[in-house]
């Protein structure tokens, strides 16, 4: 029995070490965000270090699984939330986020912030964006689709992996993209596209993993994805296909919580977020496009990326209202035999 | 004329039901003697043994050992040692330990206890077997270890459940002698469950014959073998 007890106590003690008292010293800015933002490869550590140097404060990141979990957590905490800033919602969630009436107008200078499709909001400040795109493997795909119609009507033996709109934001993005281009004809388009879809994964990581493992030559991702491979892996094997109809955009935004006790500090952080200090690190850490001109030129790879000529973006109210109906439509079209 | 006997074990209107089968035992077992419990298989020999040893609790009636009511006592609380047909030893513990458990369940053994274990091993003819493991021993040797443990336990009652049934005839004979020796030495009350008339003849002082869940005959050995009733004839001829 003692043989069992000793490791048990040791392990319990190791767990208890996590349960130590929360630090509360100087002024602390609490930022709710998602995990890949704060991971050691993400922008989080650099943003934190840079801001703490200027603010004389401590930045405390609380990172939940993803943007959706972030909003859920705020809803659950309501007015009592400790968050000063919520960072990492996307534009589709803005309508629901506003409905919580937990957010206050940001009140910062956004003159330099420029996002394709001219998205602007006085509460939610964009800090990066990316266009959804089909990424293809140049070693297998010699004639990449030149439009969404090309993709839909193309050779069914050339497969694509897409994400599920029920469980992931890129999946929802593709759903809205198809809806933007095809309108009422979306179900027919899905019925055709279905034959090219190798599989529908629960999230981006699964689809992209299958793609880089060579299982599927096309994947739904972002126009910025090739930049990672060019910068970090020095290869231009993976490229984005430019679609003539235009690309749907995903914009990531941050907002200021109404109940923040450090409102000035929080404003300062939001301003900092759109300043070159952060915008410089976003492209090569979050692999998304900056919303304002960085102070140093972006790596060469970024100039080679697809620059969509047209940007689709639906209002978040419209998305919130129709999402379930469109998902049902998608389910029906994709489940037909 | 049944002789007057000192009551070692008394079963006073003990009743029990197993599934649909009723059992009813009402008998006295002599102290300091060897009583064989016999009968056809399925008659209820093991049930009687389980009741005395405490593995079953009766629905009604009283069980007394040396005058003390043990009806509701736990097996370990009864003044009883027990030897089964097999599985008397813990296969993962060595012989000394297996015997030592009979003295102290927590294995706190004094020097004197250890000497006693050595003596018991000698007594059953297993000198130097202390460090061996049960699987290394033959069936007869394992039963001898069980006897050694019963010896160190020093309980007034010894229950044996077909203890020699698994052994070959030659071995059986030497084990019987061992049992008789130990019985004479300690003067304990022995309850021997057996289906073998030969064993009854050689070992028992008294015989209890069970049929259909009840005591049919309780008699002295010589008397028993003179009885001429139908179920008994069967038993004596068939086996």
């Amino acid at each position: 029995m003692r043989k069992i007890l000793v490791p048990f106590l040791a392990a319990a003690a190791a767990l208890a070490a996590h349960v130590g008292p929360a630090l509360a010293q100087e002024k602390t800015l609490t930022v709710y965000t998602y995990e890949s933002f704060t991971s050691d490869w993400g922008p989080g550590p650099k943003v934190k270090a840079a801001f703490e140097k200027t603010c004389g404060c401590k930045v405390d990141f609380v990172s939940v699984a993803d943007g959706v979990a972030l909003l859920t957590r705020l809803k659950l905490e309501g007015e009592s939330t400790k968050a000063d800033i919520a960072l990492g919602l996307d534009t589709n969630l803005v309508s629901e986020a506003k409905a919580t009436s937990l957010f206050a107008p940001a009140g910062i200078d956004t003159a330099k912030v420029k996002v394709p499709g001219n998205y602007a909001d006085d509460t939610f400040i964009p800090y990066d964006y990316g266009h959804f795109a089909v990424i293809y493997d140049t070693q297998t795909i010699k004639n990449p689709p030149k439009s969404l119609k090309d993709l839909v009507d193309g050779d069914p033996s050339q497969k694509i992996a897409i994400e599920d709109p029920r469980t992931s934001t890129p999946g929802l993005g593709l759903l809205l993209w198809v809806k933007s281009v095809y309108g009422d004809k979306a179900p027919e388009a899905w019925a055709k596209l279905r034959k090219r879809v190798l599989t529908v994964t629960p999230g981006w990581s699964e689809a992209y993993g299958m793609f880089t493992k060579g299982e599927v030559p096309m994947v739904l991702s972002y126009t910025t994805s090739p930049a990672y491979h060019m910068v970090e892996e020095k290869t231009d094997r993976y490229q984005a296909a430019e679609f003539s109809e235009g690309h749907y955009i995903q914009i990531e935004v941050a907002g200021l919580l109404k109940g923040s006790k450090n409102r000035d500090l929080a404003r300062q952080f939001l301003q900092f977020l759109v300043s070159p200090a952060v915008q410089d690190v976003i492209p090569t850490t979050n692999w998304m496009m900056p919303v304002s001109a960085p102070s140093t030129p972006l790596p060469d790879a970024f100039s080679k990326l697809v620059q969509p000529r047209k940007t689709f973006l639906m209002g978040s109210d419209e998305v919130a209202k129709n999402r379930q109906a469109w998902i049902d439509e998608w389910l029906t079209a994709m489940s037909m035999n | 004329m049944p002789e007057k006997i000192l009551p070692g074990i008394e079963l006073d209107n003990v009743e029990l039901r197993l599934g649909a089968r009723p059992f009813r035992f009402d008998c006295t077992i002599a102290a300091g003697a060897i009583t064989a419990i016999t009968g056809a298989s399925g008659a209820g020999k093991s049930t009687l043994l389980n009741l005395v040893a405490g593995f079953s609790t009766p629905a009604s009636g009283t069980i007394r050992i040396a005058g003390e009511d043990v009806t509701r006592s736990h097996p370990s609380g009864r003044p009883v040692s027990i030897i089964f047909q097999d599985n008397n030893l813990f296969a993962h513990l060595d012989i000394t330990t297996n015997i030592g458990l009979g003295i102290s369940p927590s294995l706190r053994l004094s020097r004197n206890d250890k000497a006693q274990i050595e003596y018991a091993l000698d007594r059953v003819g297993l000198h130097g077997f202390g460090k061996r493991m049960p699987p290394e021993l033959s069936g007869g040797e394992r039963q001898r270890v069980a006897f050694a443990r019963a010896l160190v336990r020093q309980r007034p009652v010894l229950i044996l459940d077909e203890p020699f049934a698994a052994l070959d005839p030659g071995l059986r004979q030497s084990m019987r002698i061992l049992l008789l020796d130990l019985h004479r030495e300690t003067g304990n009350t022995v309850l021997l469950v057996t289906h073998d008339p030969e064993e009854v003849r050689r070992l028992a002082d008294h015989v209890i014959f069970i049929e259909d869940g009840k005591v049919l005959v309780r008699a002295e050995k010589t008397e028993f073998f003179q009885l001429d009733i139908e179920p008994l004839r069967h038993f004596l001829n068939d086996s």
Binding site: F8, T38, V200 | G54, H74
Partner: protein, 540 residues
Amino acid sequence: MLTARQARQAIGGGVLALTLVSLFVAIAVIALLSWDTGRAGSRLMTAYTWRILFFTIWQAFLSTLLSVGLAVPVALALARRPSFPGRIWIIRLMAVPMGLPVLIGALGLIGIWGRQGMANQSLLAIGVSQPVSIYGLSGILIAHVFFNLPLATRLLLASLERLPAEYWLIASSLGMKPFSVFRLIEWPALRRVAPGVAGLVYMLCATSFTLVLVLGGGPAATTLEVAIYQSLHFDFDPPRAIALAFLQIGVTTILLALISVFPAPEAWGLTAGRLPRRFDGSGFGSKAWDAIVIAIAAVFLVLPLASIAISGLHADLIRLASSDIFVKAAATSLSIALVSGLVAVGFSILVINARSAISQAASAGAGLKSLSAALAGLSSLVLLVPPVVLGTGWFLALRPMGDISRFAPILVALVNALMALPFAMRVIAPAMEAHRIRTGRLSASLGLAGWSRIRHIDFPVLIRPMLMALSFAMALSLGDLGAVALFGSSDFTTLPWLVYNRLASYRSNDADGLALILGIICLALTMIGTAGRERERPNA
């Protein structure tokens, strides 16, 4: 053979376990249900729900049939060949799939069975042009067999190895033919554990999420678990999520009742504790058959693992393994795995002891009998409670307690312990039952009880099944991503979390490397689970 006090203690322990586990689930459910979403309830039993319900049952049924059905010949062959070189490693590798994050396992399978995988490449090489696509039901089945056949094999093998060695002696001396051995000895042993094993595999397959989506090829392949995740994570509609979870539990209860949840008690032969030596199966045909069965199973198991290992070798393993974050994640993962494993084993013992005490009670009333049934149900159905429900519910329940992130490690450990409980039960229960039957009367007559009994009689014999259960539970916990999506503790890093995190930042190379290391850790753990095997063949 328990004193009244022992019986009371055992039953009390069972009541305690039942209460704690029920409370753990109930608090989460109540917290969720008391949350007002301010939204009109949506209809539960739509055509969509019916369809995914049907699909959930269908795929889980087929997966179970295949996993357990194919595990039978493998277990028989392994039992018939108790000592060939590499046998122990095949058995150890069988615990690895369980400890891998599901996505990693899926990618490994795709490396072999996918469009560009080895199987299709070989088909191409021999001139078959059209690649065979596994996406769809076949892919789901292959994946579920990959993950569950090893589990089923090990549980079935354990039941065969518990047979008394004398049986094989008797069988050979009677000159039994292989089929008679199967019909008279092996099958009766397997039949007693098969329902329990099948129930376990069924539950694992029914709650499958990532595998079903990734390999299912489209939303036609959707399980209830996906809908539960969607309604809680994406739509935040707790009543719907809970209703779906109860639907899942309800349907499974009916199905498990049909295949009879618990096996009949085994009729334990008395054994001298001799080493099992098999005298049957010495013919050429029998040897060839066993060799083929074991080889196929090993290849099926090893190839995807090898594909994961090969990808992993491309990574800079030394850099990965020496990084601070890895060391921290490994320490966290192992502590959580150990705590959850010990909790699962401890609760299993409480539950098993209570049920055993009730079954021994001469006159168990209806109350005790239903307690026993509740314990049996609890210990298996708890696997069906979706972790996302527990995670979100406990987030709500713990919110008033201040800094919520502190609770993340404990919650993950407890959720994992709950998920591992059915595994631990199925490993430990038969062994404890056999042990009780072999030693119960003897111990009682010698007055062995309490600490002394545990130390001298129970521990030396039961340590092996307990270590096996512990290693199962720990492997399960190691591969689990944790249900703390909302808890937001930046310090809380586990190995699977690190793997996903690397994938999410494009660093698939690092993820492959980490997956390999995780696999090696699991393998090391199963060495604990198979420890003592050599010790058991003593001076005999």
